[in-house]
């Protein structure tokens, strides 16, 4: 098997044994990337940086002091600021922006010896669930329905990351998750994605969408890989005042496979009207797998689940409208051409109308409205109160002895690109229905591929853990992964 198809764990072992060099491993990915342009996953390729980093990794490996991520070729979501490399959050308003600094997460990964292959496609400012709001155009899933050539979404917002990992263009990728943007695309493409506890990973240098919800995490081919990569990404950062000054557990060491006696909660509110039978069946299979591994499965109630989506779609746009106020055509990115007599207000208005896409504009305006005088209490404060109740739901079940919660990751398999074009924006928002509660409550959540639907498309389940217990969560996910034995890959057409 060509080296680009390897897991991080396999590559780490082969690199340490000298069975392959980081340069050769990187070359195999660069070749796959060039052959994968139809997927539109990599939107800025950085082969020179990759090879330079790979050579440095080989030197470290030779010296025998290499970290686990040393020499591992990664794709980096365009939302991460990478020094001297275009970082435009898939938006025209940041066209040409090359940061003069490096995000904390990428700094940590590169310090560990990881290799950057390039920047990955995504929804504009991470606002979307299908990668269709990107200024670079759609990322395309490597997966297709059986006997069909219809192009499918890899999910969003980390759609490029999901497509690139699933199609073996890289060993793993960074993603970010504000309402499900790591877990939903991971589920759509048959890979693993974890959103850590809010504060586990530094947000510094990641273009902000909704600061109280955003978290970065790894998107990988296995749970073990997620553990290895999260280890390198996590930890306190003085530059992010919300990053937690807590010790980071050894995630890979936690993968014991022993979950006997652990209590897995099954929330009845996640059994939605109109949920496809296949999702229901997948969930039942997952329950059996965890039971079979010795876990105790318990029915639980999270009564405010129904209100998570509307609360999210008040809070996230409110924060976004404030965060995105900085794009004014003054300090970076796009500035509209002005006509004679235009003042500074016209400059702002024209720049933002030209630079932001339709969905981003909509969310900024929703956020502006819910924060405006007269509506602040009715919408924004009410949503923040509901958010407190959603968090309390989780705290209650955890206090009652539940160790983790099992739910579907998405309400359906991947849909076709363009299929939702005429739907109203709210219909697209329903994609986040199972994932968004986790962001509102600041909890860790992981999506694990468990099966295929009748059309041959991947389906995932989500496990939700207690705060700061990603180690235990990864172990439950590891058990689910081993029992599910998901090995399917997309048939190569690109």
């Amino acid at each position: 098997m060509s080296a680009n198809t390897w897991t991080i764990a396999a590559a780490r072992d082969a690199l340490r044994k000298g069975e392959i060099s980081a340069v050769d491993l990187t070359m195999s990915c660069l070749t796959a990337i060039d052959a994968g342009d139809d997927l539109n996953a990599f939107v800025h390729k950085t082969p020179e940086i990759a090879l330079e980093q790979a050579r440095a990794a080989d030197a470290k490996l030779k010296a025998g002091n290499a970290a686990a991520m040393c020499g591992i070729p990664l794709g980096i979501k365009d939302l991460f600021c990478t020094k001297g490399v275009p970082s435009q959050a898939a938006s025209n308003i940041l066209k040409g922006f090359k940061p003069e600094y490096e995000a904390t997460v990428t700094t940590k990964l590169f310090d560990a010896g990881a290799v950057m292959l390039g920047k990955l496609n995504m929804d504009e400012f991470a606002m979307g669930s299908s990668n269709e709001t990107s200024a670079y155009g759609n990322a395309v899933s490597p997966w297709r329905r059986k006997g069909s050539e219809v192009a499918l979404t890899p999910g969003g917002s980390s759609g490029g990351s999901a497509a690139a990992v699933a199609a073996d263009l890289c060993l793993a990728a960074t993603g970010t998750d504000t309402g499900g943007s790591i877990r939903q695309p991971a589920a759509f493409t048959g890979i693993v994605g974890i959103k850590p506890t809010y504060g586990r990973v530094s947000r510094w240098g990641i273009v902000a969408f909704a600061s109280s919800l955003d978290q970065a995490g790894p998107m990988t081919k296995s749970v073990r890989d997620a553990a290895i990569m999260l280890q390198a990404m996590a930890g306190h950062d003085p530059k992010d005042s919300t990053s937690a000054d807590l010790p980071v557990p050894d995630f890979e060491a936690a993968l014991t496979g022993d979950i006997r006696g652990k209590v897995i909660g099954i929330p009845k509110e996640y059994r939605m009207d109109g949920m496809p039978a296949e999702i229901e069946a997948l969930w039942a299979q997952g329950i059996e797998m965890l039971k079979d591994a010795g876990a105790e499965v318990r029915d639980i109630s999270l009564p405010h689940t129904k209100y998570a989506l509307p609360a999210y779609y008040v809070i996230a746009p409110a924060e976004a409208s404030s965060n995105l106020a900085r794009y004014d055509g003054v300090r970076y990115g796009h500035r509209a051409k002005l006509t004679a007599g235009d003042g500074i207000t016209e400059m702002y208005e024209k720049t933002r109308a030209e630079g932001f896409g339709a969905e981003v504009q909509r969310r900024i305006m929703v956020g502006t409205y819910v924060l405006s005088a007269g509506f602040y209490d009715a919408y924004y404060n009410r949503a923040r109160k509901v958010r407190a109740l959603i968090k309390r739901d989780f705290e209650t079940v955890f206090a009652d002895g539940v160790d983790a919660i099992l739910t579907p990751a998405t309400p359906s398999a991947a849909f076709g690109l363009g299929e939702m074009a005429d739907a109203d924006p709210v219909k697209m928002y329903l994609n986040d229905v199972f994932t968004v509660t986790v962001n509102l409550a600041g909890l860790p959540g992981i999506s694990v591929p468990v099966g295929l639907d009748a059309q041959g498309l991947p389906l995932g389940l989500q496990l939700i853990g207690r705060p700061w217990e990603e180690d235990a969560l990864l172990n439950y996910a590891h058990v689910l992964e081993s029992r599910a034995g998901f090995v399917a890959k997309a048939e190569k057409w690109w």
């Binding site: 919300t242 779609y313 109160k385």
Partner: protein, 95 residues
């Protein structure tokens, strides 16, 4: 609550995003749809609940009030669409 065209115009103005008059009805309709979806929140009894300010109970750290970097004017200005004589340049603000 339905958003009328005047409100849509006002929101666009507050958000500093130019929206052409012809596009306002569609925008108003979409905003109404989204806000209608949020009306569900009115079903929840939130009496006595404090609005969440921080998802994890933590005290924000304070850093020392000291200079940690500086003298990077060229880097600060490097991405500016219009920088002149060491400043960001914008259209005339005051007559």
């Amino acid at each position: 609550m339905a958003i009328d065209i005047d409100t849509a115009r006002k929101v666009a103005k507050l958000a500093r995003i130019r929206v052409e008059e012809a596009d306002l009805p569609k925008l108003a309709g979409q905003l109404s749809g989204i806000l209608g979806f949020m009306e569900q929140l009115n079903e929840v009894d939130v009496s006595g609940v404090e609005p969440m300010t921080s998802v994890t109970p933590m005290r924000l750290k304070r850093r020392k009030d000291e200079v940690t970097d500086g003298n990077i004017q060229a880097q600060v200005l490097k991405n500016a669409p219009d920088a002149r004589e060491g400043f960001f340049a914008v259209p005339k603000v005051v007559e």
